[in-house]
Amino acid sequence: MSSTAPEARAAWPVIAAAIAIVAFPLFGGRFAIDLATSIIVSAIFALSLALLVGETGLVSFGHAAFLGIGAYATALLAPKAGAPSLVWLAPAVVSVTAACALVIGALAIRTRGVYFIMVTLAFSQMAYYVFHDTGIGGGSDGIYINARPTLPFVASLGDGRTFYYVAVACLFATFLLLTAIKRARFGHALAGIRVNEARMRAAGFPTYAYKLAAFTLAGALAGVAGLLWAVKDGFVNPELLAWHQSGAVLLMLIIGGLGSLRGAVVGALAFILMKEAFQSEALFGAFARHWQLPLGLAIIALVATMPRGLMGLRESWRARRRTRPGVVA
């Protein structure tokens, strides 16, 4: 809700980052590109939740369910023989995931506050057990994707660099889509629901429907991330739906800064790098086995000291430099 001049000034870091992302493969080796691809797909996953948590204020602790459903849908919808084209596979996967999000959301959104957090966690556990215990997936071992999907005009998704660019394209598209939604009437309504839902209802907004729409959209976008994950690894297993995954994506959002789309991307980058660092034997030697300990402590410290995340830090730094009173960014 600011005028265009500060926004134009603020756009150049985004453009610079975009250029860096696009140029990256020129400098990185195979391992680096693989890691970067993981970060990009995680950023899409984080972005998918950003609108739901940051804008609408619905804290879902079960978002991994839709990542997993998207991944499994990719594996299960792909035919036994022949390479499926993403042209039909992608919309199919997204539709399936969105449908699941619609059903789960319809029930979960009947609750609010802490109940909602617990209910979403419970539903994602249910999804986890569905894939882990029943015969739908390959049980706890997971399943392979028979043939790598293809994309028209793209040589082969098996090439690390090519796949990286496909993922980047999806990231940019998701970012632009969410930016547009945030600025549209729908996005403003979601923000209003977060700040004062009772008032929104008094003004005539059917808030349940809006929340459900946001939830379904979040699920559908998570399905895209799941699809990319499955194609990248060629393999899916139930751990994608583990609640640790749901916790991780919430952490990415809070580390980056809630309410900011850029924060979601930055948070994904920060979280994955941090985790990689703690798991790195080069840095921690034998203690790297116990990476959960420093990670847990880091999480506590970060959330305690930086509740508004990295973007929040940047905000307060800029606010201190500015001397105009009474203006809130």
Partner: protein
Amino acid sequence: MTAKAVAAPLEATGIVRRFGGVTAVDRVSIALARGEVHALIGTNGAGKSTLVNVLAGELAGDAGTVALNGVDVTRWRQPRRARAGLGRSYQRTSVFATFSVLENCRLCAQARRPRTRRLALDAAAHDAPSLDAARRALARTGIEPLADRVVATLSHGQRRTLEVAMCLAGEPEVLLLDEPLAGMGADETATMLALLDSLRPGHAILLVEHDMDAVFRIADRITVMVDGAVIASGAPDAIRANADVQAAYLGETDAHF
């Protein structure tokens, strides 16, 4: 065309609402007329706010019906009633504290405004219909100079005025105003009363208030509630002379007839 009378903008019949063992609203009927300010007064705990919540659709009544312009809306929830032209303001200021004054009103206008033909990609700056309605509401209430201020920086009186402006932004036909004068000084009260006066044509207003001076200055009809039930309803002079009302207010420090 039949010779039936035009339906009242808001008509409630036999509203009952209980909370556990307590009957907060006991078979209350009330009707609002266009162009009229109808005041609802009563002792503390008389059930006024509960009645307003049932009329607005925030609470379901245990019995009774509510009709908007002849249409039975008893089963309608609040958002639907709001879109049908029923607006309300809150006794405890309920605004969007982190948004600007203009955005507060614009949001309240958005639900009733159809989408523009072209894609409004930046609703705050470009959604003409809701912005126009918002500015009109701000102008009407006299707080247009505050449009770009963040609500958290406003004074109490300014927020109460914004509360009414937000109610107006949706351009409702029926206004349920819950103690709009609460906590206001003499000047602000006079301004608010002048505003209510100016709103009379085209609107049906229900005014819940404790300020007896103001009520008797502006109301066209008064309904008095005690312990959940209506004990009197009529023109201000009749209410003033009513023995039951006087008995109910005996000892109330703000009763000076």
